[in-house]
Amino acid sequence: MNLWMWLLLACLLAYAWKLLGYLVPASLLRDPRMSRIAGTMTIGLLASLTIVNTAASGQSLTLDARLGALAAAGVALWFRAPFLVVVLAGAGAAAGLRLLGWD
């Protein structure tokens, strides 16, 4: 139930952000700093989420099959593969490496 509470709060706040854009005066848009922070935070959070899901196990850092997934996804993206192909490449690499005994 606890997770439900945070989940619904996240939904509410996500909608609040979206609606805020329609309710605040347009002059705020002329402050480039706000959109700049929104942009740098998007990059920073996605980079952080990528590395956490690759190398973190709780509070320790590990190198396992997920590193192969990162590399495979990078190669797929380099060749401009569509998103779903990138995700499948990541899954395939991790599953394949585990099959070979590297976990």
């Binding site: 939904c11 959109s35 922070i37 990059i43 920073g44 590395i51 973190a56 997934a69």
Partner: protein, 266 residues
């Protein structure tokens, strides 16, 4: 059907299919991260913002708390507020329409709209992409959640690797140039350094603070990082859709008459 002759509608429909399809990966990853079917659907129906949804389940999968998951999702959703201002300046929705417009204001609907110059096309592009993605994203989330629940051991299928790939896939289109690359490296490094010292999930928030500080103190492009996950105008040789830099006071070529009377699009 006349509506299909609108370039914005056609772009909106193709982006809906491309984006909607990867709802499968969200649905499957969400249930293997420990969320149940309805929690997964609640995220797609109510939160409805791909990056934030992946962030929420990514934190939960890593053993993070609900509050950290909410924090990461919320910080990542800030850019939708910026998009809201852009779309509001172009479309000026009135009454209940603005509450509906807000829910479907995401990377792709905004990019489809701002990529058009004609006001009627901007409107058609926004609503086609917004509603199209909302419907397909939710349908494919359900498909993914049901399939993911039947998979058994998620590690055997490499689903943790799929999550890694999904985040890199979301990050990739935003790494245009040296500066966003540097921001990504610095934030990744801050994350790695924080992992051993703080509870799971918190390193992501540390990176958000670092990124916000970079944004506050440096002076780069003001729309850096505000690229859609799936670029609707990928065929555009400049690689960047026109109109993306424009604010509400940039003059639109409104002297050109719209193809049909305004409001006849929906």
């Amino acid at each position: 059907m006349k509506l299909l002759q609108s370039p914005a509608v056609r772009v909106g429909l193709s982006i809906s299919i491309a984006t909607g399809l990867y709802g499968v990966s969200f649905g499957a990853l969400s249930v293997t991260s420990g969320l149940d079917f309805w929690q997964t659907m609640a995220l797609s129906l109510l939160l409805f913002s791909g990056g934030s949804q992946f962030a929420f389940i990514g934190v939960v999968a890593g053993g993070g708390s609900g509050v950290a998951a909410m924090g990461a999702a919320t910080l990542l959703g800030m850019r939708n507020g910026i998009y809201g201002m852009q779309v509001n300046a172009l479309l000026r929705p009135r009454g209940w329409l603005r509450f509906a417009a807000a829910q479907v204001t995401i990377d792709e609907s905004t990019a489809t709209s701002t990529g058009q110059t004609d006001p009627g096309e901007q409107k058609r592009g926004f609503w086609t992409a917004g509603i199209g993605i909302f419907v397909l994203w939710n349908v494919f989330t359900a498909v993914g959640a049901l399939a993911g629940g039947a998979l058994g051991d998620p590690k055997q299928w490499g689903l943790d690797g799929a999550a890694v790939a999904a985040f890199l896939g979301l990050l990739w289109p935003r790494l245009k140039g040296r500066e966003p690359m540097a921001i990504a490296v610095v934030c990744a490094l801050a994350t790695v350094l924080a992992v051993p010292f703080v509870p799971a999930g918190v390193p992501i928030l540390v990176a958000a603070v670092v990124a916000a500080l970079i944004g506050w103190f440096s002076h780069g492009r003001s729309d850096e990082g505000l690229e859609p996950d799936v670029e609707p105008y990928a065929g555009n040789p400049s690689g960047h859709h026109p109109g993306h830099h424009s604010g509400p006071d940039s003059n639109r070529p409104s002297d050109r008459p719209p193809d049909r009377p305004p409001g006849g699009a929906e």
